[in-house]
Each structure stands twice: as structure tokens, then as C-alpha cells.
Amino acid sequence: MSNRMKVVVLVVLALGLIVLFLFAHLRGDFDYVLRSRSEKIVAMVLVGWAGAVSTVLFQTMTNNRILTPSIIGLDSVYMLVQTAVVFLFGSTTLTMMGNTLHFLLSAGSMIGFSVLLYSFLFHREGQNLYFILLVGMILGTFFQSLTSFMQYLIDPNEFSIIQDRMFASINNIKTDLLWPAGLLIAAATLYTYRHLHELDVLSLGKDHAINLGVAYETVVKRLLMIVAVLVSVSTALVGPIMFFGLIVANVAYAFFQTYEHRYLLAGAALFGIIALVGGQLVVERVFTFSTTLSVIVNMVGGVYFLYLLLKERKAW
């Protein structure tokens, strides 16, 4: 099967799942059910797309297949920034300014913050991968604790209410952010599409890329900004799902067996959509909401991640 063919198959599969999600067990007030379901679908497509693309871009930049933006704690950074905005401006201001402005403000500060984090983690060449992984994971924990700490300070009585209102989860999708999120993703995708060839060269490694005439520092910095925006979007819509990007990207590498980002990116994004929509279908129909998708993804992803680590090490 050619790669083009594979993409077509995935598109068909994704569309099939979407149709199934929209129309399965349709009863009651059609208008209402369909509207709420399509909002959910749009959110999942956006998140699947953003999560997968940001992971592939990040892995190409850093030249490895284990690190992902969420494993080094970028989505915790987003949560922290989001909370810090409320903390600094007060929760009444937040209600006044509305979710969209809050989101844009957080996403903006997130770009600056992730550049800092990146230069802290990757400031020297030949940095030990495990070191980066461990520091990234602990940084994630650190940001998370700081986030809950600040939320508590904002209002100890309404800790959980604030948490619910501010932070999304898959069953609590922030639908009012769909428009700004969609626009940001479209812009990021357009930019990536026009630089596909640079990405192919980047995956050869830093030295080769520079030799072949890629303005490495500039390109990496821009890509990092794109990644930051995509991570903000997906975290703002459905909250963090730690191992989602890792699974989707690695499945895409295995399925396409290529270095061409045209296919890798499209494939990973489609796998992302399939995984989210299909997974949510399973959660809703098989488990009847007795669990959440992120729990399942983290369970499967955690095992897979451990496998990758031990395999890499040839420890057994």
C-alpha cells in the first residue's frame, strides 16, 4: 500500500467514526443531541490534530521518539500560566474578561514560557536523554503542585469549583473556545505546511540540517512557538492527556515507515482523531461513562512508554 493510500484509508476510518459518534443511539431531541455531539466532535478533532502535530514537530526538533511536549511538562506549564493569570488579576476579572481573552492571554504567555523551559532543558548539546526526561517529568509535577497551590490561595472555599470552571477535561470540554482554537490551529497548520521540507531536513539532525542550509536556530525557535500554541489549544479545550501524543506519533511512525513529514504529520493527526473519537465512543458505549478516556490513555501510554525506555536500554 502506498503512503497516499494509507492516508486515504485513515481519512475514511476517521470519517466513519465521526459519523458513528454523531448518529449512534440517536433519540430524544435531535436538534439538541446533534448540536452537543457536533461540538464535542469538533473539539476532539481539533485536540487530536493539535496533540499529534505538536508531538511530531517536537520530536523532529529534538531528534528522538520518546520525548513529547506533555512528558516534559508543557501542558502543566499551560495550566500554571492559566492559574497565574487568575491569581494576578483576581477571579472577578476573570469572569469579566471571559474565557476567550483568558485563553489568548494564557496562550501568549505560554509561548514565552516554553522558550525558557526549552532553553533550560536543552541548553547544551549531548544532554543525556534520561536526564531531560526525569527533569521534565519532575518539572511537570512541580508546575502541577504550584497550580493547585495557587488555586487554593485564590479561594480555599471554592477550590473545586474554580478547578471545574477553569480546567477542561474530556467530559467537560470548553466549547466556547472552539472558534479561537480552530483559528490558531489553522494558522499553525498552514505555517507547518509551508515548511514541510525544512522538517524533513531537520530530522537528519542538527549538523546535517545546518550543512544543508537550514537556519537552524530560527527554525527551531519558530517551531517551538508553534508547538506551544498547539499545546495551549489542546490543554485549554480538554485538559492534559499525558501520553496521548506519544502513542499517536509512534503509531504513525510505525505505520508509515517514512521520514516525509507530509505523511507523518497527516497520519499522526488522523490517528489522533481516530484515537480520541473511537476512544470516547468506547468510554460512552462500552464503559457507559464509568471511566474517562484520559485514564485509559494514560494506562496504555504508560505501559508503552515503559516498554520504549526498557527497549532503548536493551536492559533485558
Partner: protein, 315 residues
């Protein structure tokens, strides 16, 4: 050591009079009944549980680091806490009617088995890398944690689970904290066994050569760790990274002689938790910040610092 002990005693005494209800030593001496009630039902149990939890968890970290010869192994980074939580959850599902002692016992079994599994994996990893091992441990913990969350969702026990996630001393009152006393004799045993743990840390062959029964020492150590972790999770909740940062800081300044640093570790652990708890009580008075949050922020922050500082070869 003496000066730290004095500091701890002074702070501990002072902490008894910090809280929402006004309480002064004068009222106690005057024999005020209400004052004595607050003192005996709430303040004293709280102080005792802080002291025991802080010192015993820190000692656990020290034992684990000694046995594995790795500075970054602790109840948090080896997944022991996650196993204990899973055990508690399983006991709540399977033996809902059982008393707290049975539940704690099941949690101990899980924590012990999980930690043992982790240590066995450690043994089989050929090339030991001080960074790689906590990474694997944290991942193991994550997986166990997500299994726990999955079960908790299924059986509608998310609320009890979040109580075990975040340590909180404000609920430590008469009747809720007594189980922590189990940790006290265990700390004494740890002190008696200190030299043997050091030898066991040199590896199975070396230890056997030196005439120490390797297996039984390792099992003793891990059993202490499992019991302390389970009891702590059940009563107080998790104090993340406590068992990691306290022993590291102590050994950084006082060396690695286990028997010598063990009491110091206990004192520092208690001191650290006490300070964090008092801070939580005053920071947003009359509300309280749960100690799990304070320790979580400081703990992960210090761990990051230690990672960067103690692994210079990578940077």
C-alpha cells in the same frame, strides 16, 4: 545534632498554640476545660502525627537509598506510595466492611510486593544509571496510579482516593491518628539494623561474604518501608518527595554513615513537615493550605535542584 533537637522541641511546643481557636499556655495552666479539650483532641494529636509522619517517611527514604545505592530512590520515586493507594482501594472494594487495621494490612502487602518488584527490576537492569532508575520507578508508579484511578472511577471512590493523594494534617484528631504509632517501633528497628542495611547496599555477594543474610535484611528494610508508607497514606495522605529530599540534604552535609545520619534524618524530616504545616496554618489564616500542596511544591522544587546539582556529569 543537639541544636537541631532543641529547635525542633521549641518549634513543636510553639506549634501547639497556632491555630484558629485561640489557645494560650495561661489558659491551660488555669485549667480551662475548653482549652484542654482543644489541646487534647486536636492540637496534640496533630503535633504527634506531624512528628511521626515526618520522621518515619524520611527514614524510609534513607533506607531505600541505602539498599539500592541510588540517591534518587524513595517511596515516591519507586512507586511505593502508589502501590499502597492501590492496596487501600482494593481493600475498600473487596472488604468494604473490614476495619482500618485489615485495610492497612492489605495496603502493606501491596506496597511491599510493588516495591519488591521494582527492586527486582532494578537488579536486572544491566547498566545502572542514577537517573534511569527513578525514571522507571516514577513510570511504574504512574501506571499503578492510573489503574487505581480507573478502579476508583468504576466503583465511585474518587473522593476517598483524593484524600489519600493530598496529605492533610487538619483532620488529625483523636481517634484518627493512632495508627501512626505503628511507625515508632519500626524506626527503632531501622536504627538497630542500620549497619546491616549499609552492608546489604554493597550487593548480594559482598554482603554474603561479610556474613550478612542478604535476603532477610533487604526484606526487613522493604517491610519497614511498606508498613510506614501504607500507614501514612491511610492516615495523613501522601507527602510527595519527602523521603527523597530530606535524606539527600542531610547526607549532603553530614556524610553517608547510616547509623549516624539516621537520627538526624528523623529530626530534619519532622522539622521540615512541622514548618510546612505551620506555614500552611498561617499563610491564609483562618483557612489552611493542606500540607500535601506545600510539601509538593517544595519537594519537587528541591528534587529538581538536587537533580541538577548531584548529577553534574550530565550537565
Amino acid at each position: 545534632m543537639k541544636k537541631w533537637m532543641v529547635l525542633l522541641v521549641v518549634l513543636a511546643a510553639a506549634s501547639l498554640f497556632v491555630g484558629v481557636h485561640d489557645l494560650s499556655p495561661r489558659e491551660l495552666f488555669a485549667g480551662d476545660r475548653e482549652a484542654w479539650e482543644v489541646f487534647l483532641i486536636s492540637r496534640l494529636p496533630r503535633l504527634i502525627s506531624i512528628l511521626i509522619a515526618g520522621s518515619s517517611v524520611s527514614i524510609c527514604g534513607l533506607i531505600m537509598q541505602q539498599l539500592s545505592q541510588n540517591r534518587f530512590v524513595s517511596p515516591t520515586t519507586a512507586g511505593t506510595m502508589d502501590w499502597a493507594r492501590l492496596g487501600l482501594l482494593v481493600s475498600m472494594i473487596a472488604f468494604a466492611a473490614a476495619g482500618p487495621l485489615v485495610k492497612a494490612a492489605i495496603a502493606v502487602v501491596f506496597a511491599f510486593a510493588g516495591t519488591l518488584l521494582f527492586m527486582t527490576v532494578l537488579d536486572r537492569v544491566k547498566y545502572k544509571d542514577s537517573i534511569f532508575i527513578p525514571l522507571i520507578g516514577l513510570m511504574f508508579g504512574n501506571i499503578v496510579g492510573s489503574v487505581t484511578t480507573f478502579l476508583a472511577y468504576k466503583y465511585d471512590l474518587i473522593q476517598s482516593m483524593s484524600a489519600w493523594m493530598h496529605g492533610d494534617f487538619s483532620v488529625m484528631m483523636q481517634g484518627r491518628y493512632e495508627m501512626l504509632y505503628v511507625s515508632v517501633p519500626l524506626m527503632a528497628i531501622a536504627y538497630v539494623y542500620a549497619n546491616r542495611f549499609t552492608i546489604a547496599g554493597m550487593g548480594e555477594e559482598m554482603a554474603t561474604n561479610l556474613g550478612v543474610r542478604y535476603r532477610s535484611i533487604v526484606y526487613t528494610g522493604l517491610l519497614i518501608v511498606a508498613v510506614v508508607s501504607a500507614v501514612e497514606v491511610l492516615t495523613v495522605g501522601t507527602l510527595p518527595f519527602l523521603g527523597l529530599i530530606v535524606p539527600n540534604i542531610v547526607t549532603m552535609y553530614y556524610g553517608d554513615h547510616l547509623r549516624k545520619v539516621l537520627p538526624l534524618t528523623a529530626i530534619f524530616g519532622a522539622l521540615f513537615v512541622l514548618i510546612c504545616d505551620v506555614f500552611g496554618r498561617v499563610a491564609i489564616y483562618p483557612y489552611e493550605i493542606p500540607i500535601g500542596l506545600t510539601v509538593g511544591v517544595i519537594g519537587s522544587g528541591v528534587f529538581l535542584y538536587l537533580l541538577v546539582r548531584r548529577t553534574k556529569q550530565y550537565v
